[in-house]
Subunit: 480 residues, 2 copies
Amino acid sequence: MTEQKPRDPDALHRHLHDIQDLLSRQHLVENLIHRQRMPHQKLVESITHKQNLARLRRKLDRLHPADIACILEALPLADRLFVWDRVRAEKDGDILLEVSDAVRATLIETMDSDEIKAAVESLDTDELADLAPDLPPDVMRDVIASLDQEEQAQVRAAMAYPEDTVGALMDFDMVTVREDVTLEVVLRYLRRFEALPDHTDALFVVDRDDRLRGVLTLEALLINDLEKKVSQVMKSKSVVTFAPDDDAGGAAKAFERYDLVSVPVVDATRRVLGRITIDDMVDQIREESEAEIFSQAGLREEEDIFAPVIRSVKNRWAWLAINLMTAFVASRVIDLFQGSIEQLVALAALMPIVAGIGGNAGNQTVTMIVRAIAMGQVEPTALWRLLRKELGVALINGVVWGGAIGAVAWWLYRNLELGLVMTAAMILNLLLAATAGVVIPLLRQRFGRDPALGGSVMITALTDSGGFFIFLGLATVFLL
Amino acid sequence: MTEQKPRDPDALHRHLHDIQDLLSRQHLVENLIHRQRMPHQKLVESITHKQNLARLRRKLDRLHPADIACILEALPLADRLFVWDRVRAEKDGDILLEVSDAVRATLIETMDSDEIKAAVESLDTDELADLAPDLPPDVMRDVIASLDQEEQAQVRAAMAYPEDTVGALMDFDMVTVREDVTLEVVLRYLRRFEALPDHTDALFVVDRDDRLRGVLTLEALLINDLEKKVSQVMKSKSVVTFAPDDDAGGAAKAFERYDLVSVPVVDATRRVLGRITIDDMVDQIREESEAEIFSQAGLREEEDIFAPVIRSVKNRWAWLAINLMTAFVASRVIDLFQGSIEQLVALAALMPIVAGIGGNAGNQTVTMIVRAIAMGQVEPTALWRLLRKELGVALINGVVWGGAIGAVAWWLYRNLELGLVMTAAMILNLLLAATAGVVIPLLRQRFGRDPALGGSVMITALTDSGGFFIFLGLATVFLL
């Protein structure tokens, strides 16, 4: 993807510090000059300024695009664009590929169409397809027009596949060989290449209709006698292949389970369309886990931490709205029992405990079940066994913690019945939480929905309203 | 790692179903026989029984160890051990490597020392070191004793490095060459190998003291003329290397940024100790994200979903205890305002809304900050800028949602002042949440702690107690 060689990983933080240092000096100069009311003209001419810029440029030239991307992510908008303008044009494309969508938008906004064209020229067709959605349509049209027939077809193909499918992630350059030639011939053929496609750990063996016959690993190519035919040493049985519309997440799991590096993508007739490589799968795995962590916290997407306030508000409002609804329902439940609370105000102080612990226990259960489903470890048939187990856990927790807090309530308010009601309410709410924690994700799975989605919101809603209702209800029945 | 070829990824679920099907037939037979009071002896002799077992064995023989591992994870204890007994012994080692710690324990419990020895015989020294902590000490001693000097040294070395360091993950077999030989010679040398180490994308070029001079990528080996010397085509500048005590997580990030496949591990004198390969890094990335998701939900470690109830209770109690404490504190805060609640019981119904929304907003903030820190995007110096931004977001959310819910409260209770207090309390609690969400992780980072740890617990504790105090406090001052 990039010509430049990676450098020692720990260096990244040093680089960031150096650049922030240069930038702050830059700001210093500007401030000084500003105070002295020196026209900007002069600033640009000032020596320190020139020195800083020169240093910054040299630094950036030495950096790997992936590292520059990280650094851009870490800089507030003004500094980010200042640095971005000083990056060598030929790196722009790779950097745009590496940065997060949020940051990419801020960078592209500042580029005119010619700069964008220059930036994406160097990219492979599959990389171009990745960027396409974020580029101005007219620019994209010109870029595509500038490609040759085959490349145009590739870009269109890649863009045609929905996100999160193998097709959208596959790249098109690969080395194919025929099975009837000797390894000797293959080696001579390879020596004609300037370079091999990234992550080439195997050559694809195809017939004259480009149908996959097997794969020739570089290992097999290197350890076998040169006289042997490809067909003798190629792997043709149980070769992992993907279809372009396979789910990217599933593909990533296969790479993980089978320790793969590159896998051919074939159509229904086993014609080879392209290649999936481990680097894309690693990004896939990272993105999936990020997405999960963000959605758990109710963030729609990864945020540019220096994004303007308003964008962050947009990113977060939906979840807050939902929680406002559920909190409102809970509040209505409490309102039902105004009378009881008036008579025994201790209830108001104790009820959040019942609701809170229920929510936590429920989230433990749902998290565990969702993980197990994601790992393909849970069949809907397991419902009863899992339910029995979780109810057991809930019962023990209820007796232990409910008993403890019940005793405390008894001691605090010198009221045994109150303590008993507290304990009973905790047990019941924990049982409710466990049931919901098992049933909600398994039902969603059975109906073909994403088991993870909104699970914890629903649980919390249930355990809040449920907890208040159970506790205040029991209190009303037995205490008043 | 394994001789067997991987198969089509989607197959995994089919396999699981088939095996569960076989097992259920098995149970059926057993039940029938049981009802007819037929002695177990007869069961074992019964034909259906034998057929099922034969089918099960055939199925397992065809499966990749990683797939068998997934299937074992998915089976309840009894079935799991039933299947485990029927797996071919030579696969045992690889399967033990693949399963989660929880499941591994259940499998090893059932094996006698000879079975364990047979299982781990086939493993590489680094894999052996991975399993060592879970094996009975006496068995481990015998196994190590059975190794040759060099292997013993390797196992000891690998076990000496703390978990989550590069040293603990590195493997020891690799191909090294000298720089003064021609590619021709290298090719001839490689043809003497039975197989190359997994994920060999480059040979390590070393001097006669085993010090790393550079790496010869298979690509360079394949595309260059045979007359060329290794020194002419090897990569010697800015080669990524790790030290054995580097953090495994950092190494994984480097693999991700630079799209690496295998990296040499060198000591202070650049002597090559071993190799880190992408497959271990993929597992590392997966484990990190799992651990984060589990700790967010307050689960100590990944759970075997079919583990006995008591083990799950142990895994979850700590978090529940902490939350009980914080909930108790919040409850005490409410108790302070008994008088106010008695006078205006609507407060009891409204207070959970203030606390709840604060908690959600705070968790959004802390999640975002923690991610940014983990990506190396936040310097403690950014504190003020981030704080200003988050306070802005909180202010807008407070005015919008606080205003909305305040209006609702006004309408519900026909009490304008109550509505205004509600709005004010929401705004203040959201500001509190934002501050805590930024300050807590950044402080933990500055003091060299893990910024993620317990962040959301602390936030929730703050926003609950704080929310109750703010709301009830304002109400007491302005409404009563």
